[in-house]
Amino acid sequence: MEQERYLSASPHVSDGESIPKIMYGVVLALLPAAVGAVYFFGLKALWIILIASAAAIGSEAAVQAALHKRITIADGSALVTGILVAFNVPASVPLWMPALGAIFGIVVGKHAFGGLGYNPMNPALLGRAFLLASWPTHMTVFTAAPRGGSLSGIEPATISALGLDAVTQATPLKLLKGAREVLANSAVADPAKYADYAKAVNALYDSYGNLFWGKVGGCIGETSAFLLLVGALFLLYKRYIGWKIPFAYLGTVALLSWIFAGTDGLFSGKPLFHLLSGGVMLGAFYMATDMVTSPVTFRGRLLFGAGCGVITMIIRLIGGYPEGVCYSILLMNLTVPLLDRSTRPRILGEKK
């Protein structure tokens, strides 16, 4: 028969998943939190997201054109990086910063290593780390309060009723960090300040609702646990992320914060507070789960998540920064080859 036939190795069918499908699935999952960012922080947040995305896509196209490689901006991976960089900056930054972070992430974090699939570290986090190291004030001073809320997440009415204005001009994690320092040294502390902090900590622990819905200060995409969870459920349902890394990460954070993060000695911590504040939700579901930079084995993924949790809590509790999600994931990214190698599953029929 003179008809051309397709030839290829088996299997001859596939489940229809592709890299673009997965990447745009992640974009879709990030959408609720993006809408939330614009709602809470205004149009500035929209600009940050658009500029970071454009910078990521544009710089990927530029690098690939310069290297005479196939231009792959349509696969959606650069867009994901752009959005994540945007999510990781405060609303108060000048607009060139998210652009620069995205470009750094794409050029240095991704293409310097050979592009998608070869980068050892999460490009978006590398972009954020670059910004944090270069312009720490812009990155750590939060001035934009969310619509209808306060920076610390405590109800504005409560703040004025208790007269706490002086200590609540900070994000919850920063407030808690300050409080722990004062409360741990009750002997030397100024009694008025001591009383204020004690009240503030109680008020913080009463404001879980605001943390959950996102009425709190912080980077624009990290504040609403609720909106992030909506997207995460979608990703879990589509199996674009697995349960192991988020579960191990959040579980470790909860455990360690219960044991060590309280203001009344061991086992006085409030796990829910640490889970809902800062960037843990964003990190655990959207950044630690980055396929390229996380292990592929079952035990490897559990250890990876647990490692992220441990480092996050070390930084939060004894490190110099109030938040440690970004560095914890970047550091664990570097352990991936080792984790994968040492957790190879037992082959069927291999001796136990």
């Binding site: 028969m1 190795a9 069918v13 190879r344 082959i347 029929g349």
Partner: protein
Amino acid sequence: MRILQHRTFSGGVHPPQNKLTARLPIEDIVPPPMVVIPLQQHLGAPAEPVCQVGDMVKIGDKIGEAKGFVSVPCHASVSGTVKAVEPRLHPLGGKVLSVVIENDGKGEVSPSLVPDDGYLERSPDELRSRIREAGLAGMGGAAFPTHVKLSPPANKPIDTLIINGAECEPYLTSDHRLMLEHPREILAGVQVIVKILGCKRCFIAIEDNKPDAIETMRRAVAEGGYPYQVLPFRAKYPQGAEKQLIKAATGREVPRGGLPMDVGCLVHNVGTAKAIYEAVALRKPLVERVVTVTGAGVRSPKNLRVPLGTPFAHLFAQCGGLSEDAGKIIMGGPMMGIAQFSDEVPVIKGTSGVVVLSKAESKVPAPHPCIGCARCVDACPMKLVPTHIQTLVRHERFGMAKTYGLLDCIECGCCGFVCPAGIPFVHLMKYGKMKVYQLERAAGAKSA
């Protein structure tokens, strides 16, 4: 007795089943005007021709003699004249010495086919030699000579026989139809195997997407008063793979590099069981088999009883021809089958089906680098890390790839099925294995 759950293994995938022909009874094909019978249709040494151009042959006449222990003879599948003994295209690739017979249409049967009602009285050795003489090779696809599988060494007694009716490949329904239409012959064959091995239990394994087959086989077992157990297994690919089936049925794991007999098990396909019955009771050699001809590219898919050596083109002609849209011809199922570039290749002993995919289904996307999504790791039924093995093979680090389990890969294709980057795993695995064997042979030659 405890209610049996539907057993399974871990890993695996759920490809769309597409069992288009599950309800179509097996039809006898109009015999082709010409058959091409390759002298190698089994694993092991090829048979040697024992006929000449111009010879008249009848159905069941021996035309190729086995050479060595791991080899089986071949028989004429139609009556007529030998037209050529020459290399012809083979569905497993390349050209293989084949006997071409022109069909005289008379359908005359060799006088050597004399039924033996007392076959159950015969000794195991006699039964084995009848099976070998009938040219039996596993009909599930791998085509290992059946008598060799039935000759375990004395230090490896078999206590469990598993009859494989899982048929986990999408599209294929030939085993399913056999179980519905010939349950008694299958069980008679099982009885022979049990007698040869003297094993104490026998499971008949069927996926739970074929409740009618489970029902039919259960009834036949009860009617015949056999002590065999029909076990439903969860419908999941590759449930019918030997090691996965053994693990699911008995909990035993075939050791790395070992054989089922190392854990006292033996697996035979339902089609082979039926052929065993015919070989010992009817003295009928393996000259025909059931082939599912199906897929979007076939106008009217069918289950056909086909003389071995029938060219694929004749199968298609009997199924209303191929549609305009036919894109890829596969011998076997879509997960493990082999794409063909010609429709001249013949049906062989291991041809359980011919699947023709549409053009749209046939296109393979260009591969991307691995993005580390771990889907292949979760899918691998051998618990390998396929992405690491493929990377090692690409970097020509074959020794390391072997440590990571390259040789344990059963080429089931689950990893390729789920990979969003479109990595051609099975191709790389086959290439890597070939390289490992080559290197080991070279090393062996040097040290010898």
